[in-house]
Symmetry: C2
Subunit: 370 residues, 2 copies
C-alpha cells in the first residue's frame, strides 16, 4: 500500500482478519468510472466481511440513481473473486448518509473541480452567430464519441442554447454530492446546458453579463464531468462576457473557429480570432460551414452564400482551414428532430480527423455496421 | 411672434430698423434640417443687415463640414427674398465660436437627445444569430429610404457589427457640438456602428456587459440623429446586456422578429419574444429568412434549411408572419461588396409594406427607373 492510499485510508483501522484486509486492498483497485478515483479512497466501501469464502460488501453510492453502480459492482466482484479464499461475492447498496456526504464534499472542497479530469478542452468559437458553431460542436462530439472517446459538451450559450435540442435531450439534471451530474445523450455524451435547467426550452434567460459569467463558471466547477477525453465548449456569438469567461476561467487548450463563406462573416470571425490571440490561446483551425450545396433535383453545385472567402480568412488569422462543410437540409432536419447522433457523418469525418491530428490524438473510425 | 420664440430670442435686442426686424422674423421660419429647429432659435444667425434692398446674413455653422449648410442657405434666401424691400441676399459663413458652441450645448444639456426626434423606433431582434437580422434591417432601411423617408440605423451589435460592411461605409464619424454626427450611406441613410469607430473593421471589441450597454446608450443619446421618420435598431443575438439596454433605455416602439425555417432557431426566437413581452413591448411581426431557394441550374425549388416552422412560431409568439424571404446568393454577394442599396428589392417589398402598414404609415413605392 502506497503512502497516499495509507493517508486516505486512515479513517479505517486495518482489519485483524488477513482475508478481510486483503479484500480491502483489492477494492482499492476498483475505480468509480465517473470520478476516476478508487472506491475505498472515496469512502464508498462502508463494510467488508468474509465468511466461509463468501464476501459481503456494503457500498454507499453518491445518489440512488448513481449510473456507475453496475460497473463498480462488476469490477469489485472481479477483484474479490481473484483473491484466494473468496468464491462468492454479495453486495449491499445504500446511498451515502448526510454525514458521509458531508465528509466527501469537504474532501473535494465543495466543488466538482477536483474530480474533473479533462484531457482536451476545446472552445468552439466564431464571433458570428448562425454559422453552425453548435452543429460543428455536436458533430465533433458524435464523431469523437463513436470512436470510443469520453466526451462532454459544455453549452456556454446561456441565452440561446442549441445543444440539448440537437440531441433530443429532455433529461433533468440530477445532483450528486459535488454539484450537478450532466445528463447524457443516447450515445453517452455528457451535456450541461442552460436549457436542461429550464422548465420550458423556449423560456427567456434575461441576464446581464455577470450572471452569464457565473453560470458558465458553475457549468465547469459545479458540474461533475469526471474523467473525459474531450470537453467541447460551445460558445455564443460575440466577444463579450461569455467568451471572455470561457477563455479566461476555464482550462481551454485551444480554439476551433467556425465561419461561413461570406466575407461579412469572416470579418466578424477575425474579431473572435483577435480575442483568442489577445488571451494567448492557440487557434487549432478553421471550419467553413454552409460552403456548398447540391441541388436535389438536378445535382447541380451551388454556392448558397456566394463565393467562399475562407482561404483569405485562414491566411488572415494564421490558422489552417480544416474543412468545408456543405449546407445540408437533412442535417438541419436531424437537428430539429434531436437526431444528430443518427446523422450520416461522412462529410464531417475529415474535419474530425484533422482536429484530432492537431491534438495529437488519432481518431479511431468506428466499425461500419454490416 | 409666440411666447416660446420670444424666450429663445431673448438674447437679441429687437432691431430698430423695421426691415431688419422683419428679416429676423422671416429667418425664424428657416429650419436646420438635421435638428428640425429654426436657425434663429438655435443661435446660428449671428448678424442681419439690410441696405438698399441687399440683405447680408452671417450664419454660424455647427461645424466646418456642416452638411446642412446649402439647404439652410437656400431656405434663408427664399424667406428673405419673399420680403418686400429685399431683392438680393448674401451670406457670410463661419463656424460657431467656442463660446457660442458652449451656449448651444448648455441649451441642449450636453447631449444630442433634445434634437433627436424619431417618429418610429423599431428594434430588429431574433435571439438567434445568423438568421439575417442585419440584412432585414438593411433592406428595410433601403426600402423606407427609397420611399422618401428619413431613416437611421443604430447598430447595437457592438461586438459583431455588420451594417457598415453591407453599405460599403468607410466614413469617419465626425463630431458636432452635441456629440457624434452619424455618417450616411450613399443613399442617405444615417448609420452609427461600432465598426465606424474602429481603425480596422476586423478589430475585436472585448468588452463586458456594462461597457456594451454604455456604448449603446451613447449611440442614442450622444449621436445627432436629428429628425427621422424611422430609426431601426439592429440587435445582436441573445437576451443579455445589449437587447436589455436597447429595450429598456431607448424609446423603442415595437420589435420586429427575424427567424429562419429551423425549429431550433424558432425555439431561440421564442426566448427573444418572451423578453419583449416581459418588457411590455409589442411585437410588430415575424420575418422568416432563408425560407426557400431556387436552383440556378434547373429552377427547382428547395428548402435549404428543411421544412419551415414559422407558422407554428407565429402562433406561439402571437405575432403575424409578415413574409418569407428566399436564400439568395446574389444578396449575400451584394452585402459582401457593400452594395446593399443596389440590390433588387422585389422580394423584400411586401415585407416592407406589411411593416409600414402595421406602423400606420403607407409605404410609397419609388418610381421605377425607365
Amino acid at each position: 500500500m502506497n503512502e497516499k492510499k495509507r493517508a486516505e485510508d486512515a479513517e479505517r483501522e486495518p482489519s485483524a482478519d488477513p482475508i478481510v484486509e486483503r479484500a480491502w486492498q483489492a477494492l482499492h483497485s476498483v475505480l468509480d468510472p465517473e470520478l476516476e478515483r478508487d472506491v475505498v479512497s472515496l469512502g464508498l466501501v462502508r463494510q467488508v466481511e468474509v465468511r466461509d469464502g463468501r464476501a459481503e460488501v456494503e457500498l454507499a453510492l453518491t445518489s440512488a440513481t448513481c449510473p456507475a453502480r453496475d460497473s463498480i459492482a462488476a469490477d469489485a466482484r472481479r477483484a474479490l473473486l481473484s483473491l484466494e479464499g473468496v468464491h462468492e461475492v454479495e453486495f449491499r447498496f445504500r446511498t451515502l448518509s448526510e454525514e458521509e456526504r458531508k465528509r466527501l464534499v469537504e474532501k473535494s472542497e465543495g466543488t466538482a473541480r477536483p474530480f474533473n479530469k479533462v484531457r482536451h478542452t476545446l472552445a468552439v468559437m466564431s464571433g458570428k452567430g448562425g454559422v453552425g458553431k453548435s452543429m460543428v460542436t455536436g458533430l465533433l462530439a458524435v464523431a469523437l464519441r463513436q470512436s470510443g472517446a469520453r466526451v462532454g459538451i459544455l453549452d456556454a450559450d446561456i441565452t440561446g442554447p442549441s445543444i440539448p435540442r440537437m440531441f433530443g435531450m429532455r433529461e433533468e439534471v440530477s445532483s450528486c454530492p459535488f454539484g450537478l451530474r450532466p445528463p447524457q445523450t443516447k450515445g453517452g455524451i455528457k451535456v450541461m446546458s442552460m436549457n436542461l435547467l429550464l422548465a420550458e426550452e423556449g423560456q427567456a434567460v434575461i441576464w446581464r453579463g455577470p450572471m452569464i459569467s457565473r453560470a458558465i463558471e458553475q457549468f465547469w466547477g459545479d458540474v461533475l464531468w469526471g474523467a473525459l477525453d474531450y470537453l467541447l465548449v460551445d460558445l455564443p456569438p460575440g466577444t463579450s462576457d461569455a467568451p471572455l469567461t470561457v477563455l479566461q476561467s476555464l482550462p481551454v487548450e485551444s480554439v476551433l473557429l467556425v465561419t461561413s463563406p461570406q466575407e461579412l462573416a469572416g470579418m466578424v470571425v477575425r474579431k473572435a480570432a483577435g480575442m483568442a490571440k489577445q488571451l494567448h490561446l492557440p487557434i487549432i483551425g478553421l471550419v467553413e460551414n454552409f460552403a456548398h450545396f447540391t441541388c436535389p433535383h438536378c445535382g447541380g453545385k451551388i454556392d448558397p452564400f456566394g463565393p467562399s472567402h475562407s482561404a483569405l480568412l485562414s491566411h488572415q488569422v494564421a490558422a489552417p482551414l480544416l474543412g468545408r462543410l456543405p449546407l445540408d437540409p437533412t442535417l438541419a432536419e436531424c437537428c430539429d428532430q434531436g437526431m444528430l447522433e443518427n446523422c450520416p457523418l461522412d462529410a464531417f469525418m475529415p474535419v474530425a480527423e484533422a482536429i484530432c491530428q492537431k491534438l495529437g490524438e488519432p481518431l479511431r473510425r468506428p466499425p461500419r455496421p454490416h
